[in-house]
């Protein structure tokens, strides 16, 4: 648990953080967000004493941090930054090993931990352990940055725009991976970002800051539905409804759907769904391959001939996706329902536009 009590930081006449009080509960992801210069990074860096507060007190698990030696404190807190800051003269393995070595772990334990962490962030240890940072892509480097922050298994993670310096697609993947890892590890996380979508996606609670003050600290749903003042209202923007969709998973909206296999004989196809205009097509393993329009049936003599082949990545979503992603696929493809697949690409159902509408209708105004 991280607790800040009336913390202030000023540089001469400029006040970076004013009287900020904030609690991040055990196992909770708290996202600090606000316009640039609002003091969010300063706040984060005060928690591991890279910056000393001018006034106020900070506690970690009940212990006041000013009583702990900075180096010792920092070794017990994971730290990941936007620029990653991997040491260019060390291999990936050596980079990850830094904190465990500072803590004098045994060599075998360190080696084992490196393996474990690389797997955790989805990189093959055999391939990556001996690489140097300049041989990594931006996304890989950020993953190593996260692995390094987790190295000594700290209960607390501080992350300063950890997914900042990558393209949107990679960022989305890294965020999904972060959520998966966080679900498993349940760290207490304080994360700084300026990207509201990222905050909404990752946070258990969002702390919005403006000119050094905490403006609102609440769950994403609450911030989206009940902004505390005009600043938050404007900051959240006019597409609040859309943003709230990104907090709702598709899992509870998946409904069974009709599909035919590539090998299904033509005379059986018609009977699969008599009232449907079209059905999804899967291969013999049940993996999504495209769809079939009823009007094209009479002219064809096999499913393969009649179907429209669809790109699985473009059209389908997984059951971990959000309604916002589902809606975006529907609009992008011009469909009023979108197929849902499992990790292997096997069709498990669909989500329809009607369901998304129903979900928005249920949300508070």
């Amino acid at each position: 648990m991280i607790r800040l009590v009336k913390v202030s930081k000023s540089y001469g006449d400029t006040i970076a953080v004013r009287q900020l009080s904030l609690v991040v509960n055990q196992g909770e992801v708290c996202v600090l967000i606000g316009p640039s210069g609002c003091g969010k990074t300063t706040t984060l860096r005060m928690v591991n004493r890279l910056i000393e507060p001018t006034a106020g007190r900070i506690f970690i698990n009940g212990k006041e941090i000013s009583r702990v030696k900075p180096e010792q404190l920092r070794r017990s807190i994971g730290y990941a930054i936007q620029s990653v800051g991997l040491f260019p003269h060390m291999t990936v393995a050596d980079n990850i090993a830094v904190v465990p070595e500072l803590l004098h772990w045994a060599k075998s334990r360190v080696a084992h931990r490196i393996d474990e962490l690389l797997r955790l962030v989805g990189l093959d240890p055999l391939e990556y352990a001996s690489k140097y940072p300049n041989q990594l892509s931006g996304g890989e480097a950020q993953r190593i940055g996260v692995a390094r922050a987790l190295a000594a298994n700290p209960p607390i993670l501080l992350m300063d725009e950890p997914f900042g310096a990558v393209d949107p697609l990679t960022r989305e993947k890294l965020q999904a991976q972060f959520l998966r890892i966080q679900q498993e590890l349940k760290k207490t996380v304080l994360l700084v970002t300026h990207d509201l979508d990222e905050a909404i996606r990752l946070a258990d609670r969002i702390a919005i800051m403006a000119s050094g003050r905490l403006v609102q600290h609440a769950t994403p749903e609450e911030i989206l539905s009940r902004p505390t003042n005009k600043f938050v209202h404007d900051f959240v923007g006019t597409d609040r409804a859309l943003k709230r969709l990104s907090r709702i998973g598709v899992a509870s909206f998946i409904r069974p759907t009709h599909s035919v296999k590539l090998s299904t004989p033509m005379k059986e196809v018609a009977s699969v769904c008599e009232r449907c205009h079209w059905v999804w097509v899967v291969d013999d393993d049940g993996k999504f391959t495209g769809w079939l329009d009823r009007t094209s049936l009479p002219a064809a003599n096999s499913v393969r001939q009649a179907m429209v082949v669809g790109d699985r990545d473009e059209i389908t979503i997984t059951k971990n996706a959000t309604l916002r992603e589902a809606l975006s696929r529907m609009l992008g493809q011009g469909f009023n329902s979108i197929p849902v697949v499992d990790e292997e690409g096997r069709l498990i159902g669909e989500v329809s536009l009607g369901d998304v509408e129903a979900a928005t209708a249920k949300m508070e105004p």
């Binding site: 920092r74 730290y79 990653v84 800051g85 040491f87 260019p88 003269h89 500072l102 140097y132």
Partner: protein
């Protein structure tokens, strides 16, 4: 890549062996110089054998360059730490001054105080070679990115650990380049030691100039040039060794 490194070291060893053999072959030198300058009655400086002259010269360079490194690198480190940051301009200024001040003038000033011989020469060479070492140490350490340092401190390294594990390895190549320049400068400048009796390859050259004996000058200049080439190779190899592995892996 490792094999290439090894080859470079083997080449250097062979060249050094060749050089030692060459300067030890007094007969060969005498025959060659006699052939080139038949009008001279004497072609080899009588003060000492070439081997001794080269050894004196090398000794001057090793002494002065070691002193330069031992003082210059810590000085460069100190003025990039918070405790010494205020002294950076003055250190920069003084080391620049050290290089603009002619070594001969240093000798002229040193002799009345310390007397003749090796020590004043080493002091003059040391002051003269300090600038590139200090300047490159500062430049190398300053080039370490702030993000990398932020990560180092953020992960719990002490200032000392960050310096040893992160800053110095990253700056090593630039620092070595400074030492490289300094040593090469010193090999040339060490010639002036002969003026105040420190010996070295300057002795035959000065004798040659005084007695108008071109053979003497050649006897001093050619081994000095070879020495400079060898030192240059040695330091280039060392730099390659310290270039951090990200570059080696390319």
């Amino acid at each position: 890549m490792l094999r290439r490194q090894l080859n470079l070291w083997i080449l250097l060893t062979v060249l050094t062996g060749l050089f030692v053999w060459l300067i030890a072959s007094t007969g060969l030198w005498e025959a060659t110089l006699r052939f080139l300058f038949p009008q001279e009655s004497q072609v080899l400086h009588p003060r000492a054998s070439l081997l001794v002259l080269v050894w004196e010269h090398v000794k001057l360079v090793i002494l002065s360059s070691s002193l330069t490194v031992l003082v210059g690198v810590p000085l460069g480190i100190w003025v990039t730490r918070p405790s010494g940051r205020n002294f950076l301009p003055i250190v920069y200024y003084l080391t620049s001054f050290g290089q603009t001040f002619p070594p001969v003038a240093v000798l002229a000033l040193a002799v009345p105080m310390i007397g003749f011989g090796v020590i004043p020469t080493v002091i003059a060479l040391f002051l003269y070679g300090l600038l590139p070492v200090v300047r490159n140490t500062i430049a190398g350490l300053r080039a370490v990115s702030q993000d990398v340092l932020d990560a180092a401190y953020g992960m719990g390294m002490s200032r000392w650990q960050a310096l040893i594990r992160v800053e110095m390895p990253l700056a090593a190549r630039v620092i070595l380049a400074g030492i490289h320049i300094s040593v090469i400068i010193n090999i040339g400048t060490a010639m002036i030691g002969a003026v105040i009796g420190a010996g070295g390859l300057g002795s035959p050259i000065i004798a040659g100039l005084v007695q108008d004996n071109l053979a003497y000058i050649i006897e001093g200049a050619v081994p000095a040039a070879m020495l400079a080439v060898l030192a240059d190779r040695l330091l280039a190899n060392l730099e390659r060794l310290f270039a951090y592995s990200a570059e080696k892996a390319r």
